[in-house]
Amino acid sequence: MKAAWVLAIAALGWLSAPARAASDDVVETLLGNGMKVVVKPDHRAPVVVSQVWYRAGSMDESYGTTGVAHVLEHMMFKGTKEVPSGEFSKRIAAVGGRENAFTSRDHTAYFQTLRKEELPLALKLEADRMANLVLSPEEFAKEINVVMEERRLRTEDNPQSLLYEKLMSVAYKSHPYRHPVIGWMDDLKQMTVDDARRWYQTWYAPNNATLVVVGDVDAKTVFSLAEKYFGVIPARDLPTRKQPGEPEPDGFKSVVLKAPAKLPEVSLVWATPRLEKPTEDWQPYALEMLAGVLDGHGSARLPQALVKEQQIAVDVGAGYDPVSRGPALFMAAATPSEGVAVDAVVAGIKAELERIKKDGVDEAELRRVKAQVLSAQVYQRDSLFYQGMLIGEWATAGLDYRARDQRLEKLKQVTSAQVQAVAKQYLTDDRLTLARLDPLPIEPGKHFAKPMGGMSHVR
């Protein structure tokens, strides 16, 4: 039961809160067409990770075509003039490479992991589909069905995902973060190949992309390969980026999801600031420390109080991810113990917040959280892919990833009074949105119509 909302928290939160990379050896360049190239050498194994990040995610979509960023991601494997449908994957696989792609609210990224000798192949193929994608109606007709199956698998049949989707749709009043990345089912049903084509033509330009390469390479070679393959693609005018806003919260919001499930659940999110100036801001760091004190390790406050001592929840978690293009949220979620009302668990979470607002936190607690950050910074260097992720996420969020160097220092400087201050300022009922899963009883063999607003998909 934990998996779904833990993932949701991880997506937002402490678990994935990027720990700092030692980036003194990171080098970057800007190609003539405006494409950024970042290289982080790591010579531990004869392997390289290549990632191309487009600054286009679901937050750039419009009403009626939600999900198109992700659909286009699928279509990127469906062939170019030179490389027929399916061949991209086949050629990468033929050299032992692994590849995939992911779409988020902020970006779409494509990656390959291969033996270092094969980097040119990855770059060549990736550059080809940046410029020459063929979007055929036949391939689209099949792939849109695959995406709808993906939505059924990940969302429709998963009450935890439905809860998260509904929570986001209410927590954000106007910002496009209110739409699910995979898109609403009705939009998917009506999507056309022309929607995908428009998306591709709008956003898939070198001046909207960052190439991140991590592994057993030297920067000069990567720069010249990038110039060779990507440098020839002309820059394009990008649409003027509008900055969708989100009004200041003006009072408590709450929403209920009724879905067939066994156990109730509750998720809480508070509107909080995101990281904008990594070297000047302090509040996002204080919120990170707060998330760590609440749920950053095995003896953190929330599981200690609610699961171990009071035993009113079987699971509880909290998280905060300050790195995003849009407005950030601080999140908590819990599954009540049997016979315990959701309200009692919510009260338990709020009581822990009140304690911090009133008394602050101990130095020992802050030290413990900092120890996690410090060790995570070492552990993350074990993964080429993750090192690339951190650079790509910061770059597409419009942040200077080199400022990550100061992150540990900034976190070390956070005081109990600052943690207390952000808790008081942001974790208030007026900034809170709460979503509750009310389980519908399940009769074996009965097929439910799901009473979801905007999701009338029922077989």
């Binding site: 039961m1 032992g96 992991t113 429709e156 079987v314 070492v378 552990y379 074990d382 080429l384």
Partner: protein
């Protein structure tokens, strides 16, 4: 033309790949019993350690289902002088991560810590207490039982759980591999502290222990570390039949053999979900198995190789019937499962099952094409360095080699063994193992 290029390139790989020649696996036995596998590497100031025992859910019985998992779980929740909270705090103070590792064969722990003396000493002290002096506090057992039961209740209404469980029961019958790793609601409720203590005494013993260490310490430090971990462990009342003198060919304490299925079984479990979930398969192969490489390479082509595989091509690429469709062999001490799986919208259930059956039958009857075989080998051999590109992956391989007593040169042998597989090997191995007339099929969902 594409195929020729592949075949050509394959030759290049085999000549050029040093395989795991650079991976110097050191191995020794402990005087108390138990074996150690070690790779010294100072690239990063960190250390990954696992300690495994043949103490997985295969050691449960139908009446004690969940005992092995609960023992493993509670070991980390209070040990020796350390309360549950102190265990967590001591680890958190030094930024170390201690996790349980648990499956049907193995019960154990993985520890990741900074390698600096202060941090690693503190982290190892916790691990040693966890291994040797678990408290098995009654109140903690009651609480964790409640949480485990809630988790099963929650999962029990989901198609993945229902189908997975029905599939496991159908293919393994009376064998303990049929038991769910996490246990059953009824049996969990009956577990006592005495049960956990007895399980710990029996299985978490020195002669049953495999330590795998990867990272930033010297051989001498690794030896001392392993001695310390083993020192306080009981020798065990009935030392398992481990002849640790040679790492090759020996196995952890015997499990009963898995019986082959005699006839096909089809089960439909009605469910309200918008997709039907398919589980199809039978007992497959062992970790030490003469057909390991033919089945590995063959399954890449059938359903393991993603977009290179027939299952994904037929189900997803050609027909758009599912997001994922796959097959895999899960090699275990005894025959682990061979499973085909997919999820598809309800009204496509029959079509998807039909396509899977036809795809499987054609593969068993005809085997792969030369082009498919070349592509599979090319991927498995060319991708070999990716299996060892981090401390974590190397550590996991060490632990696997150690637990299953694979030869120390297993990794070095891997690309050569893949290269040696022929089309005929695959046809023979699949025809011997995967019998369409003895296939278990479970569908959760419905066609309506």
């Amino acid at each position: 033309m594409f195929v020729e290029r592949l075949v050509f390139m394959l030759g290049v790989f085999c000549a050029a790949l040093p395989a795991s020649a650079g991976l110097n696996i050191q191995h020794w036995n402990l005087p108390q019993g138990g074996v150690v596998y070690f790779v010294e590497n100072h690239d990063l100031p960190m250390l990954d350690i696992s300690v495994d025992f043949a103490a997985g859910s295969a050691r449960d019985t139908a009446a004690t289902s969940g005992l092995a998992a609960m023992t493993n779980r509670l070991m980390r929740l209070g040990a020796g002088p350390l309360s549950e909270q102190q265990v967590a705090e001591n680890l958190a103070d030094v930024g170390a991560n201690l996790s349980g590792r648990f499956d049907q064969d193995r019960g154990g722990f993985t520890l990741r810590t900074l390698s600096s003396m202060e941090e690693r000493t503190a982290a190892l002290a916790v691990l040693q207490a966890v291994l040797t002096q678990p408290r098995f506090d009654a109140a903690v057992l009651a609480r964790e039982t409640q949480r485990a039961v809630a988790s099963i209740q929650d999962a029990s209404v989901k198609p993945e759980y229902q189908g997975g469980k029905a599939f496991q029961t159908a293919i393994f019958g009376d064998h303990p591999y049929a038991l769910p790793e996490e246990g059953e609601i009824d049996t969990l409720g009956k577990l006592t502290v005495t049960d956990l203590q007895a399980f710990h005494r029996k299985y978490y013993v020195a002669p049953n222990m495999v330590i795998a260490i990867m990272g930033d310490i010297t051989r001498a430090e690794a030896e001392a570390l392993a001695m310390n971990l083993a020192a306080a462990l009981p020798k065990g009342e009935t030392p398992p039949a481990l002849n640790a003198a040679l790492p090759k060919g020996e196995t952890p304490p015997a499990l009963p053999a898995v019986s082959a299925l005699e006839k096909a079984v089809d089960t439909l479990i009605p469910h309200h979900a918008s997709q039907s979930h398919l589980f199809m398969g039978m007992p497959g192969m062992k970790r030490i198995d003469p057909d390991y490489f033919p089945l590995l390479v063959g399954n890449y082509i059938l359903g393991g190789g993603g977009f290179d595989s027939r299952m994904l091509i037929e189900i997803r690429q050609k027909r758009g019937l599912a997001y994922s469709a796959y097959s895999y062999f899960s090699p275990m001490q005894e025959l682990g499962p061979f499973q085909i799986g997919l999820q598809t919208r309800r009204d496509a259930t029959d079509e998807a099952v039909k396509v899977v059956r036809e795809t499987l039958k054609r593969f068993i009857d005809e085997g792969p094409s030369d082009a498919e075989l070349a592509q599979a080998k090319s991927n498995l051999i060319g991708g070999f360095p990716l299996r060892l590109d981090s401390n974590k992956k190397i550590q996991e391989h060490l632990a696997m080699i150690g637990f299953y007593r694979l030869p120390l040169d297993w990794l070095e042998h891997y690309p050569k063994a893949v290269e040696a597989v022929t089309r005929e090997d695959i046809v023979r191995a699949f025809q011997a193992r995967v019998k369409p007339d003895a296939l278990v099929t479970v569908v959760v969902g419905g066609a309506g």
